[in-house]
């Protein structure tokens, strides 16, 4: 399987406060990776480094074989940020408008969206089960429905690699089931590579093909025995590579 993400010996610190160091891993096409860890362990920071939002203090990150700093082929990536749906509660836009705008790169500047983009946006809304609400304003949707609209937004552009930051945080259980079953299907049927930061260890173990744990400044991929211990809250890193003291 081709290598989609390669991380070599990266470290990060907020000022003098180290967050993590010596982080190495590779992600192959079709992997479903869950990153777990306590609050403040640096999970979202790690995601932002992978996205090129922030630069690591040291080390290298490459996406699809290209150095992350130089990577510009954003249409191959999707990113569902944490809790964005709560900020959009009062934004005056329909579900369809929100999904459609992510197909920006499909129409060269200056231009307007055409039938092809509208159909793709509606197909993405159908995929998350919200086609009937396409013309409804965001303000009239529940928090869970807004989160599904945002998932439709990132899926509409058909990314090869999808980053998700706590995708089921603060949403109802129905939405949690819809989101996970859709992600599982896209991963299985279309080979979509998924990297998901989550607090939900139980879901991470059930859904993901690989589970990384970020703890005490180091990242470790957990094996089956460690996953069982993690579920029982007994996990401790047995080996710490490049631990931050």
């Amino acid at each position: 399987m081709p290598e989609v993400v390669k991380v070599e010996n990266i470290s990060f610190a907020y000022g003098a406060e180290p967050v993590f160091s010596g982080v190495d891993f590779t992600i192959q096409q079709g992997d479903f990776v869950a990153v777990i860890g306590a609050n403040g362990a640096g999970k979202s920071t790690l995601l932002k480094i992978l996205l090129g939002e922030i630069s690591p203090a040291g080390g290298e990150v490459s996406l699809f074989g290209e150095e992350a700093r130089r990577f510009r082929d954003w249409r191959r990536l999707g990113y569902l940020a944490q809790n964005t749906f709560t900020n959009l509660a009062a934004f005056p836009a329909t579900a369809e408008e929100v999904v459609l705008v992510n197909l920006y790169s499909w129409v060269p500047f200056p231009g307007f969206f055409r039938q092809r983009e509208r159909e793709a946006a509606r197909a993405a809304l159908a995929e998350v089960g919200l086609l009937a609400l396409a013309k409804r304003p965001l303000a009239s949707l529940s928090g869970g429905e807004r989160q599904r609209v945002l998932l439709a937004r990132v899926l509409a552009s058909r990314p090869e690699l999808l980053f998700l930051d706590e995708p089921t945080n603060s949403v109802d259980s129905e939405t949690v089931d819809v989101i996970y079953s859709l992600l599982e299907r896209l991963n299985r049927e279309q080979g979509l590579t998924l990297v998901m930061v989550t607090h939900d260890v139980d879901r991470a173990v059930r859904q993901a093909s690989r589970v990384f744990c970020l703890e005490d400044g180091s990242l470790l991929e957990l094996d089956q025995q460690q996953l069982k211990e993690e579920l029982a809250h007994r996990h401790k890193h047995p080996a710490r590579k490049g631990r931050v003291d």
Partner: protein, 276 residues
């Protein structure tokens, strides 16, 4: 109509319609990005430019444009280099502009002249200013349409816009320049102290009734033009100050829409109860 017999009123109506159309369009992005303070800072900066223009014997509207562009550049600098202090930076720029305008106004040789720019003098527009307003507002409108998708996406979610390939820095820069230009040309006509109201009030009224972003833009522009016309008619027939009348017309629209919506909600609840 009596009002159209006068050349100065025909000019005022044309300027009112153009500003009423363009300023609320930009206002949609200003409101959705929580940048109302930026509009205020630019309008106060225009006062400093107007005062310096009057002192140097230059056209005050050109002075306002230069001051607004400089202030816009300073705001962009804060937003980029010190994003966590951008709000404070905008407040500092506004304070500096007000201070400069206050000092410079003492040398403008006639308070009445400077006072016209505080609350506007839409009915005293010369040929040069008319040409400037028409050229600038049409330029702004065209650029707004060309960058419609970019401005919408950046207002919705800047981070997602960047990942989707939107040139966010360029879009932000263009938006700031458009806002500065609109504030500068409106300062002479609507008034520097009132221009930010024209940027915010029609948008807030539109958001009460619109069901999409596109409808919000259309309704904001519609309410902006309607407020301008009502304000100018009121000013002509009742001898009111035009800038203030335009803003108060917008406020009246907002109140009517809010009350109307509340009334229709109560009425539909009552009808539903009766039917059940």
């Amino acid at each position: 109509m009596d009002i159209l017999q006068y050349d100065f009123m025909r000019r005022a109506l044309l300027v009112g319609i153009l500003l009423g159309l363009v300023i609320p369009c930009l206002g949609v992005v200003v409101v959705l990005r929580h940048l109302a303070q930026t509009g205020d800072a630019l309008s106060h900066s225009s006062l400093a430019g107007i005062a310096i223009g009057l002192i140097l014997g230059l056209n005050p509207t050109l002075g306002a444009m230069v001051a607004c562009f400089l202030a816009a550049m300073a705001i962009e600098f804060f937003r980029h280099r010190l994003p966590e202090r951008a709000e404070t930076g905008v407040a500092v720029i506004m304070s500096a502009a007000v201070g400069l305008a206050g000092v410079a106004s003492g040398f403008t040789g006639g308070f009445a002249n400077f006072n016209n720019f505080l609350f506007g003098s839409i009915v005293a527009i010369g040929n040069f200013e008319l040409g400037l307003v028409v050229a600038v507002t049409l330029g702004i409108f065209l650029t707004f349409i060309l960058f419609y998708r970019e401005l919408f996406f950046v207002a919705l979610d800047e981070q997602a816009a960047r990942l989707a390939g939107v040139p966010v820095r360029v879009t932000n820069f263009i938006f700031t320049i458009l806002t500065a230009a609109s504030v500068a040309v409106a300062a002479r006509t609507v008034g520097a102290l009132l221009v930010s109201s024209l940027m915010v009030v029609p948008v807030f009224a539109a958001m009460q009734i619109a069901r999409s972003y596109f409808q919000t833009v259309l309704a904001s522009a519609g309410i902006g033009v309607f407020s301008s016309l009502v304000g100018l008619f009121g000013s002509f027939y009742f001898g009111l100050k035009p800038g203030g009348s335009i803003v108060l017309s917008g406020i009246a629209c907002l109140i009517l829409i809010v009350v109307g919506r509340r009334f229709s909600k109560v009425a539909s609840r009552f009808t539903r109860k009766r039917l059940s």
